[in-house]
């Protein structure tokens, strides 16, 4: 992987003589650099999502039945429906102007005004970790589909450490997080080690370990000592107060996890770009043969890299359990590992890019909740939007073809895991 995608707009190779600044700006805007492609991908996804909303609404479709007679009916109804859906999405993600004005008038509280942002950050926190996990592995030429399994194991170890040990505050939290990281690291190290020793492709082994982890979790929550003694369904004991990630409480669910997530992003950025290990990772990712010739232990790097990636995903799972869920259930990890995959692709496998992508996904998820309860449009639309955005991002040539963009350098998403 060359990580060729750059976020800045680069001037074209041969700017015409005496071109106005505005002209250069426009031309660059319309050339297919990664910012333009990302923005257009989001636009395309939103358009397709809007079409989906329309075709799946019986009332609006009924109006389309007499489209030729009175087209305005159908168009207005479609516009209203899509408009209200997306405005609820935005309000749920970033804040409702009414809630803000209520706060200024004194009829509402500041907590209510900031609740949407809090939700966005809450959903984003675990995604940052799983996204970083996938992105980091990608940079070393490994495709870590196993972030989901590693996050599940992180949930298990962090959750069990959270309710099993009676430790004082701070220490309890740190121990639980450490356990989450260790659990994920173990689950990541195994496929890394197998790849290093036997050449077993990490995509296959990590896919298989995902489901193994999920089955392990669904077995574990029913065991005595883990299962909540007061419940008959599959739910574990609740983690101790001391092990929970502190939050504002009330409607503001946002917790310390997002702060850790930003710190982890900075940490991964440092690891990748400034440390010896990061250099080895990038060298191996760019060309394992050359790295081997240069004296880098490729096998060792693969194993270590997967362990670190696993630890990050495990922390994502730990954030989920200690920050929002507080108890283990078979679906406690949700889809954070697979979403992390999309987040990493959207963030172009760069630490800070991943952070912003996770924030965008968190916003979509938080807004999707409001859209579902206010407009009655399924939260699954968000999954569709996320997948579509990444499909378009992954195929910049497709976006270019659709919008007839100029070809430009550095537009591609360089996601070609090493085939060795």
């Amino acid at each position: 992987m060359t990580a060729a995608a750059t976020t800045e707009k680069k001037p074209d190779e041969q700017p015409a003589d005496r071109e106005t600044f505005f002209g250069v700006f426009l031309r660059n805007l319309w050339s297919a650099n990664s910012v333009t492609v990302t923005a257009l991908s989001i636009v395309l996804a939103v358009i397709i999502g809007g079409l989906l909303i329309i075709v799946s609404d019986a009332d609006v479709l009924a109006k389309f039945a007499y489209f030729t007679a009175r087209p305005s009916d159908a168009l207005t109804a479609s516009g209203d429906l899509v408009g209200s859906a997306y405005s609820d999405l935005l309000k749920g993600a970033f804040g409702d102007p009414e809630a803000f004005s209520a706060w200024f008038n004194g009829t509402g509280t500041w907590q209510e005004a900031f609740a949407p942002i809090s939700e966005t950050l809450t959903y984003a926190a675990p995604l940052v970790f799983t996204g970083l996990s996938v992105a980091l592995a990608f940079r070393g030429g490994l495709f870590n589909i196993g972030a989901q399994g590693q996050a599940v194991i992180g949930c298990i170890t962090a959750g069990v450490a959270g309710f099993a040990f009676g430790l004082p505050p701070v220490i309890a939290l740190l121990v639980a997080l450490l356990f989450g990281a260790l659990g994920g690291a173990l689950w990541g190290f195994f496929p890394g080690y197998l790849k290093a020793r036997t050449g077993a492709h990490e995509v296959i082994t990590t896919i298989m370990l995902n489901y193994t982890a999920t089955l392990l979790l669904s077995w574990l929550v029913l065991q005595s000592g883990v299962q909540d003694p007061n419940r008959t369904d599959a739910i574990s004991k609740t983690v101790h107060e001391a092990a929970k990630l502190p939050s504002f409480g009330g409607v503001l669910r946002v917790h310390l996890g997002i702060v850790f997530a930003v710190a982890a992003t900075a940490g991964v950025a440092w690891l990748l770009n400034r440390s010896a290990f990061g250099f080895e990772v990038r060298a191996v990712g760019a060309n394992p043969h050359a790295a081997k010739t240069a004296g880098i232990g490729v096998a060792r790097t693969y194993a270590m890299l997967m362990a670190v990636a696993g630890a990050l995903a495990g922390l994502g799972g730990a954030t989920q359990v200690l920050g929002t869920a507080y108890a283990l259930t078979p679906s406690v990890a949700g889809n954070i590992g697979f979403d992390g995959l999309l987040v990493a692709l959207l963030g172009r496998n760069k630490p800070w890019g991943t952070l912003f992508a996770a924030l965008l996904f968190g916003a979509l998820r938080a807004g999707g909740n409001r859209m579902q309860s206010y407009t009655g449009i399924s939260l699954e639309l968000v999954t569709v939007l996320q997948a579509l955005i990444v499909i378009f991002i992954a195929a910049p040539a497709l976006v270019k073809a659709i919008f007839r963009l100029r070809a430009a350098r550095a537009a591609g998403l360089s996601v070609t895991p090493a085939k060795g």
Binding site: K195, T198, I204, I207, N210, H289, A387, A394, P417, G420
Partner: protein
């Protein structure tokens, strides 16, 4: 997917010629046999284990003391393992010996579990085939794609689209055949996106596949909640695939009711195994497919249209996987629910790899995994101490063992996962 990765980079000691694949498999079998005889034998109660032909405890086909059976079959596993190690079997009988070794190990396990109870053979066999049915179709779809060099990890997504389209159109048209055809179309839609993005736009095939899984999950879930949940009567009550009974043949014990009192989809799946095996190995299309999957440049040089053939095979795979999706709504349950395939597509992928990318291998692996699932439900029904989750893990763990080459490495087609760019 290419499995040869680090080997040529690090100083891995080349395996000594003495430890051939058969010898290693034999040692593994001997170990399994010892475990079976010692562990299962000591845990099994000394009560009769009955394997019955009917649905109740009567008419036992095989009736044996549980403890004795566990030890006896464990010892047999050791014998077959020993035969493999010693090389007495020769090349010709080594696979038979391996299969017998695994079978006796499973029977030993069953003797322990069934002791004091009974296991209805007909129900177990038909349940196994029924659970294996989508896996067979999914794995065959994988065979088509991967043998021509396109990795397909979107089988799960194709299943979901197939299941959804089958339920939706089947209900709206009121015809199970319309449902079946639309299920195939649903699979083709995902396959087409996979094909265009990976063959034309050269996006990493695994990445596209995983994203498509999420896309299918999202779009079927979205339309399910928008359409089916509000009006299940109009959108989500598909007619069921009829079962046809072939008189005469259906009276054969055990296999008769399983194979000849079944639905069309099962026959279709079994036929496809043979057809694809024949096609791959005996026809011009098959030779070209294999050439494209192993060495596309060479294939191109002799005038084979690499991309065209890959498009064709991935789309054909979409048809097959979509039919596999139809199983979920038109055969198994009778309605679509969100994420109803719950990982079956990945078990199909596992079956494909475990079956060494061949149709018959995939079929055998799918049956094995189907049996593990069936056994898991049986064991949890009779209250066995073995948790069903661990049996359900079996396909995944077996695949890890297979790709890691702990017992006989699986080799993928050489150009699997690599886009072809004409230079």
């Amino acid at each position: 997917m290419s499995t040869a990765t680090v080997e040529d980079l690090t100083e891995v000691v080349a395996p000594e010629p003495f430890w051939t694949r058969n010898r290693r498999l034999g040692v593994a079998l001997i170990l399994l046999g010892v475990i079976a005889a010692a562990v299962f034998g000591s845990l099994a109660p000394a009560e009769t284990a009955r394997f019955t032909l009917s649905e109740d405890a009567q008419g036992a086909a095989l009736s044996i003391d549980g403890q004795l059976g566990a030890i006896l079959f464990g010892v047999l596993t050791v014998v077959f393992g020993g035969a493999l190690v010693s090389g007495l079997t020769g090349k010709r009988w080594s696979n038979a010996s391996l299969i017998l070794g695994i079978l006796t190990f499973v029977v030993s396990f069953l003797c322990w579990q069934v002791a004091g109870k009974f296991l209805p053979l007909v129900d177990t066999t038909s349940g196994t085939l029924e659970l294996a049915l989508p896996l067979i179709l999914g794995a065959l779809a994988g065979v088509l794609g991967e043998r021509s060099g396109v990795v397909n990890v979107a089988i799960e997504g194709q299943f979901l689209m197939g299941a959804f389209a089958g339920a939706l159109v089947g209900t709206m048209a009121g015809s199970v055949w319309a449902g079946l055809i639309s299920a195939a179309v649903g699979g083709v839609i995902i396959a087409a996106i996979l094909a265009v993005l990976s063959i034309r736009y050269l996006v990493d095939q695994t990445v596209v596949g995983m994203v498509l899984n999420l896309f299918a999950l999202g779009i079927t879930g979205f339309l399910y909640e928008r359409l089916m949940q509000s009006d299940a009567e109009a959108y989500n009550t598909p007619p069921q695939m009829p079962t046809w009974r072939i008189p005469g043949l259906a009276d054969i014990p055990v296999l008769g009711p399983v194979l000849f009192d079944a639905n069309l989809l099962l026959w279709l799946a079994l036929a496809l195994v043979v057809v694809i095996h024949f096609g791959l190995n005996r026809t011009r299309w098959g030779l070209r497919t294999r050439a494209v999957g192993e060495h596309p440049t060479a294939a191109d040089t002799v005038g084979i249209r690499v991309r065209g053939l890959r498009y064709l095979n991935v789309l054909l795979g979409g048809v097959v996987a979509g039919l596999g999706g139809a199983y979920f709504t038109l055969v198994a349950t009778g309605s679509f629910t969100k994420n109803m395939t719950s990982g079956a597509g990945f078990i199909a992928l596992a079956a494909l790899i475990f079956g060494r990318f061949t149709p018959f291998g995939a079929f055998a692996a799918a049956c094995f995994f189907g049996f593990a699932q069936k056994l898991a439900t049986y064991l949890s029904a009779v209250g066995s101490p073995v948790p069903s989750q661990f049996l359900n893990m079996l396909p995944y763990l077996a695949t890890i063992v297979a790709v890691a080459g702990l017992v006989g490495r699986v080799r993928a087609p050489a150009a699997d996962g690599q886009p072809y760019v004409k230079s």
